[in-house]
């Protein structure tokens, strides 16, 4: 199984080395690995499973920290990768985020954690709740406590009771002054939208604008009673090249092309309940799920039979289930990019607006795209929010909350490299947004019941939808 785990900083420095078996792995492997990263470009682009001359390496990168594990024998790759991800999660949870300094400051804790999480290369316990009972996190509370009590150990002196209980994720004798349980639906919308279907589109647009006489580039158009929808136009064209006068262009109004749209959601529970509570959570519309995954505490039979979640929760914050809902029909906002090239310059205009009002306000809206390499310079501005072009040609337009009175738009010109007449690569727009109070999948919680509670607990429900991999192709 795994023989060694290294933590590397973003400059390739070994922050920590944890040998797991009697067969030591030499640090030289890290140098080899880092050479690979340097020669292959960005570390994120490197395959997670690599064969080095001496070992098979698994790597997971989080916040600039590379978690590198080595083995020399065949093993399930996902087991190693899952484990490294867990290590990263637990560490960032313990240390309140991950970075080089925080690991250097707390390396003793990291060693202690790894000691309990894996022995002889086999993962043991990765449940944050159990680990917290064995090794106290370095938070302020424990620092205060150590001053007050004079005890300096950050290790609890008792072994967690749960290691012996039949509910391994929970300690048996928990007591909370206020009993409360919160359930959050956190959804991410992944969508791919094509603005235009044909790569050669912009040429025809400018041809059309040119020959139809009454129009000039950028002005609002009115066709068939649909004003201001130039960016929505989808062209089916047929033209005879020999003679341009009978140029025939068929315009169809079209609302972008939703290639794919789905929701990935998680049910996050924050439970602070005394004793050994038994919870049941049911949904009003459980049939919308395409697939589900559960925390180990969920009893699987009641779900199979009646789509009811029955579980004894771990203490604190955890992900009760994750789910996927496919084939959504629409998105809450639209982003309509348009590029028109003409003799070395390219006009850009991007419109953002609400397509389907979700009933709550949309905020944290941000549009990001990478300018094609052939763009020499750019001049972009917006009527709302701020536009930034970074050194690596990433252009980000931060809108924030959707204004009530106007539709945000960004426009400007791109100057192409000399020799280029028109733009022929079109960037993909990555869109971020957040809607509080709504689960866009339509999922509704029906009720949450508690068996054997010590007192009537306080229950709370929230929902949130974010933009996940939300892409608009121009």
């Amino acid at each position: 199984m795994l023989q060694c785990i290294f933590l590397l900083s973003d400059s390739g420095e070994v922050l920590l080395e944890k040998q797991l078996t009697g067969h030591r792995v030499d640090r030289a492997i890290c140098d080899w690995f880092w050479d690979q990263i340097l020669t292959q470009g960005e570390s994120l682009k490197l395959v997670p499973v690599i064969a080095s001359p001496t070992h098979y390496l698994f790597q997971v990168v989080r916040e600039g920290i590379t978690f590198l594990a080595c083995t020399q024998v065949e093993m399930p790759p996902l087991m190693a990768i899952e484990f490294l991800c867990r290590v990263a999660d637990v560490l960032s949870n313990y240390l309140d985020g991950l970075n080089e300094d925080v690991i250097k400051d707390n390396f003793v804790i990291v060693y202690e954690l790894l000691d309990e999480m894996i022995d002889n290369g086999f993962p043991l316990t990765t449940e944050p709740n159990i680990l917290r009972e064995m090794i106290a996190p370095p938070n302020i509370v424990s620092k205060v406590l150590s001053v007050v009590t004079g005890s300096t150990s950050n290790v609890s002196n008792t072994l967690p009771g749960a290691t012996a209980s039949c509910v391994p994720w929970r300690k048996t004798d928990l007591k909370h002054a206020t009993n409360e349980v919160y359930v959050d639906l956190v959804e991410e919308m992944d969508a791919t939208i094509n603005s235009f279907v044909l790569p050669g589109f912009s040429v025809f647009l400018s041809l059309f604008l040119h020959y139809s006489g009454q129009l000039c580039s950028g002005s609002p158009v009115c066709i068939d009673g649909h004003p201001k929808q130039l960016a929505n136009v989808f062209y089916l064209y047929s033209l005879s090249c020999s003679d341009l006068s009978p140029l025939l262009i068929l315009l169809l109004l079209r609302d972008g092309n939703l290639v794919k749209c789905e929701i990935y959601g998680e049910v996050e529970v924050n439970s602070n309940l005394s004793g050994l509570p038994d919870l049941t959570l049911s949904f009003a519309n459980p049939l919308i799920f395409n697939d589900v995954r559960f925390h180990p505490c969920v009893r699987l039979r009641p779900w199979e039979a009646n789509q009811i979640l029955s579980f004894v929760p771990p203490d604190g914050q955890f992900t009760l289930m994750s789910y996927r809902v496919k084939k959504l029909k629409s998105t809450p906002i639209y982003v309509k990019p348009q590029f028109t090239s003409d003799s070395g310059t390219c006009r850009v205009s991007v419109l953002v607006g609400i397509r389907n009002d979700p009933g709550k306000s949309i905020d944290n809206i941000a549009v990001q795209f990478k300018l094609p390499p052939c763009v020499k310079s750019s001049d972009l501005s917006s009527n709302y929010g701020s536009v930034n072009v970074l050194a690596d040609k990433t252009c980000s337009w931060t809108i924030g909350r959707m204004p009530k009175d106007k539709a945000p738009s960004m426009s400007g010109t791109l100057v192409l490299e000399s020799g280029m007449d028109r733009l022929h690569v079109f960037p993909t727009f990555k869109v971020g947004f957040r809607i509080m109070g709504v689960a866009l999948s339509g999922l509704k919680i029906d009720k949450l019941d508690l068996k054997n509670p010590l007192s009537r607990p306080h229950k709370g429900f929230r929902a949130l939808t974010k933009g996940g991999e939300f892409e608009v192709r121009s």
Partner: protein, 840 residues
């Protein structure tokens, strides 16, 4: 006071300014050692932290070992943990000092706090000093019987660590039966799981030498034990579940009813949040239903949704591992996934390796109903900024076209690509159009019209240029300008770097000439002249061939160069279906990620875990840095297989861990048959004799290596092909498949040994004798080389493993040959070449 520890250890050269600080630490620690004043622990803690942080950044702090041990008498658990960590890191290289720690670790093993007992026991097992194992037995035995499950859990794994340190101690103490008892009785699931992992490893390593162990290993797979685990499945942690599921996947159920029982029991676990568990379950399902075709189909349907969810949730790293498995399944049964094609659409931000897998899957699932949408999506990627992605996408479009769905639309798309005026798109598309034309000659008209508009000046990539030139030649009568374009290309002959392009140009001009002689005559003359004068032999040969053909008879030339073409119906597939099956058998393993069966990159069963670690660490690489390294390792690994494949596995262990064992036995230096026979006995290869052809006919036939019908007597002289070549993979596969035909020991000229200082010297020297080095490695005094040579007529290949001991000037040879009868002759040739090394 213990003596200062640093005496026999020279300071590490990498040590920066740390030296002074380390000695500071040493004094401070020493002052604290005996102190019991309040607050001492805090000071100690700071100091320990410093020591550990030095250790972490790579400064050698082994010199404070004895002070650390002296300070370890404390009740503070964090101090203890840091101390354990320190000791674990340095004990292996300071066995004398490690002895100092035994005492306090043993004492801690009896502490009243179970956590300290457990931690101390774990550290004790991690010391890794072979001559201290006797101190391990007692605490381990107590640990296994401890009242606290935490300690038992640590002890169960400790037994395995002890086994790796000293197998005999572990077995003599009767630990495996104890573990088995625990495994079947213990209430704590983690203890049970740890017992299982330890037992699995110990028994499978022992199985080759002890019948009892082999039997025990079988009982682990027996119905009662497997059912015992299955029934307790819910109690186990997610990681333990993975290990148990791996065991279950090896279990062979008696009948279909049993299979259904197991599957029903496990089915709900497909919803598990841990992807590793889900994949392990899927492996069980797939393996159990292999023989039941219809159920196997249903299993695919059932596992589809969980797999797709795993891909879309989690980090990119997890997605990749799952995608690799999904890729395997999609390739096996594309029709099942054809309606889920949208899941394989690429996201802009995904890393390239993920996109590539997705493209392959999109290509595989394309059928009549979804081709249009898939190709539309692929066209999006072609317009993408990412050049390598655009290329892959065009290739994918081409592959779909070659699968014969909706070719009309696709050809139109491809031709649109050519109009995009992007160099890489044009280049890639040209290669594809060429392939398409070979399969669908009926499209030539449309394609040629567009291709004819492309200026050859805009095409720079050799592959694309070759494709364009091929079309110019093949469709010379349809393309007006063809002879003139070719003429222009011939004029620039000297500037053309690529041999491939020059070869194609020759052929294209020739074809063009045979169709439109008057226009091409001049170009052909120039091309042939340039070709005959070309420095590349292949080009020269082809030019001469054409020249002589034309001189002999133009109509014959026409028949040969321009025969009526038949459309290609199937292009050769790169990965054989047998290989795919092999990978499928190894579902949920690294094989799937690498898309290679495990025998091609590792071999666990024969070797046992970690057996090759030390030796491989020293293996240096010859020419190509990374590829050759892996290749060399593979060759090495397979070589070990051969050694361990024999019955004397234990001996094999010693053989490798102790390098000098190679040269220890004193053999007769002569190369008589008797000596080689004697050597055979040592490595005990199952082969009765060297002279008779062994029973490897079947393999040779499979490979089509052309084994001579009856091995004739050795030819008087053996000539070797000077240009023989083989790639490392093929070599390694061959090495695996063939048995040793000759094994000899000889000596090498001491002057030659001096030449070994330069690692490239010997390979270069041997190349002069038509013997090529495939891989090399090792450190003084033991070097290892793999050579390859081929008989001049190509009828037999010779594979040689050559171990040179530079201190004793001994050379061990193992020779494998297709034609066994000539191996003796080859050996003589090899040795004479070797003898000349250094003497020249």
């Amino acid at each position: 006071m213990a003596p200062p520890a640093q005496s026999h250890r020279s300071p590490s050269p990498s040590q920066p300014s740390g030296k002074g600080e380390v000695s500071d630490l040493k004094t401070q620690l020493r002052l604290l050692a005996g102190s019991r004043a309040p607050g001492t622990d805090d000071t100690k803690r700071e100091l320990f932290k410093k020591v550990i942080s030095y250790m972490t950044i790579g400064i050698d702090v082994s010199s404070v070992f004895s002070e650390m041990v002296m300070c370890s008498a404390t009740s503070d658990i964090v101090l203890k943990k840091m101390c354990y960590l320190y000791v674990g890191n340095y004990a292996k290289h300071n066995p004398d000092l490690a002895l100092l720690t035994i005492n306090f670790l043993q004492r801690d093993c009896k502490d009243e706090d179970p956590m300290i007992r457990g931690l101390a026991l774990r550290s004790l097992c991690l010391l890794g000093v072979a001559n201290l194992v006797e101190y391990l037995v007692g605490p381990l035995g107590n640990g296994l019987k401890d009242g606290n499950s935490y300690v038992r859990m640590v002890a169960a794994v400790g037994v395995l660590k002890l086994y790796h340190l000293s197998a005999s101690t572990c077995l003599d103490a009767d630990f495996p039966p104890l573990l088995k008892q625990l495994m079947l009785k213990d209430k704590d699931s983690q203890v049970v799981a740890n017992c299982l992992t330890s037992l699995q490893e110990i028994w499978s390593l022992e199985a080759s030498t002890s019948e009892e162990a082999a039997r025990e290993r079988e009982t682990l797979l027996s119905k009662p034990i497997v059912y015992y685990f299955l029934n307790r499945m819910k109690e186990f942690s997610e990681w333990a579940q993975c290990i148990i599921l791996e065991l279950v996947s090896k279990y062979a159920p008696m009948d279909t009813e049993e299979i259904f029982d197991i599957m029903n029991l496990l089915e709900d676990r497909l919803h598990h949040a841990n992807g590793a568990v889900v994949l392990a379950i899927i492996k069980v399902f797939l393996h159990m239903t292999l023989s039941m075709t219809d159920v196997h189909q249903q299993v695919y349907e059932r596992i589809k949704a969980p797999l797709l969810t795993l891909v879309s949730s989690g980090s990119p790293e997890q997605s990749y591992a799952v995608l690799s498995h999904l890729h395997l399944l999609v390739m096996r049964a594309p029709y099942i996934f054809s309606s889920d094609y949208k899941h394989f659409y690429c996201q802009y931000n995904e890393p390239f390796y993920v996109k590539k897998l997705k493209l392959e899957m999109l290509t595989a699932v394309a059928n009549e109903s979804n081709t249009y949408e898939i190709v539309t999506e692929l066209c999006e990627y072609v317009a993408n900024v990412d050049i390598s992605m655009a290329r892959e996408s065009i290739r994918a479009v081409g592959k779909i076209a070659l699968q014969q769905y909706d070719v009309n639309a696709i050809v139109d798309r491809l031709l649109q690509f050519l109009e995009m005026e992007k160099e890489h798109v044009t280049a890639e598309t040209l290669v594809l159009v060429k392939d398409l034309l070979r399969k669908y000659p009926q499209w030539s008209h449309d394609c040629i019209a567009v291709v004819g508009n492309i200026s050859s000046k805009n095409v720079q990539e050799p592959k694309a240029k070759a494709a364009l030139i091929w079309m110019l030649g093949e469709y010379a009568q349809d393309m007006q300008d063809s002879p003139y374009i070719l003429e222009g290309l011939v004029e620039n002959w000297d500037e053309e770097d690529s041999t491939e392009v020059r070869l194609h140009l020759l052929t294209a001009v020739m074809k063009c000439f045979l169709r439109r002689a008057p226009e091409t005559q001049k170009a052909l003359g120039d091309a042939l002249a340039a070709g005959v004068a070309d420095f590349h032999q292949d080009v020269r040969d082809r030019a001469l061939l054409y020249y002589r053909l034309l001189k002999y008879d133009v109509s014959v030339a026409k028949r040969i160069v321009n025969p009526p073409k038949q459309a290609v119906s199937v292009f050769a597939d790169t990965q054989s279906s047998e290989m795919k099956d092999r990978i499928f058998d190894e579902f949920n393993s690294l094989s799937v990620v690498y898309q290679k069966p495990s025998y091609m990159f590792t071999d666990k069963e024969h070797r046992g875990p970690f057996a090759f670690s030390e030796e491989l660490g020293n293996l240096s690489i010859g020419t190509e840095p990374s590829d050759a390294a892996v290749a060399a390792q593979r060759v090495e690994a397979n070589d070990n297989d051969l050694l361990l494949g024999t019955s004397e596995k234990e001996e094999g262990h010693g053989y490798r861990s102790n390098g000098s064992a190679y040269s220890a036995p004193s053999y007769n230096a002569s190369t008589t048959a008797g000596a080689s026979q004697g050597h055979f006995d040592l490595v005990s290869i199952d082969q009765p004799s060297t002279v008779h052809p062994p029973a490897s006919f079947a393999i040779d036939d499979l490979l089509g290596l052309g084994m001579p019908a009856a091995p004739s007597s050795a030819p008087p002289t053996l000539l070797l092909n000077a240009k023989a070549s083989i790639d490392a993979n093929a070599f390694q596969q061959k090495w695996r498949q063939q048995s040793i035909s000759l094994s000899q020991e000889t000596s090498i000229d001491p002057r030659g040994v001096a030449g070994m200082m330069n690692p490239q010297a010997l390979p270069q020297h041997m190349q002069g004798h038509s013997i090529n080095c495939i891989a090399s490695g090792g450190q003084a005094p033991k070097f290892k080389f793999f050579f390859f040579a081929q008989k001049e007529d190509g009828s037999s290949a010779y594979l040689v493993e050559c171990i040179i001991n530079s201190s004793s000037c001994r050379v061990q040879l193992k020779i494998k040959a297709d034609d066994q009868a000539t191996s003796q002759a080859f050996s003589e040739l090899f040795q004479s070449a070797l003898a000349k090394f250094g003497s020249a």
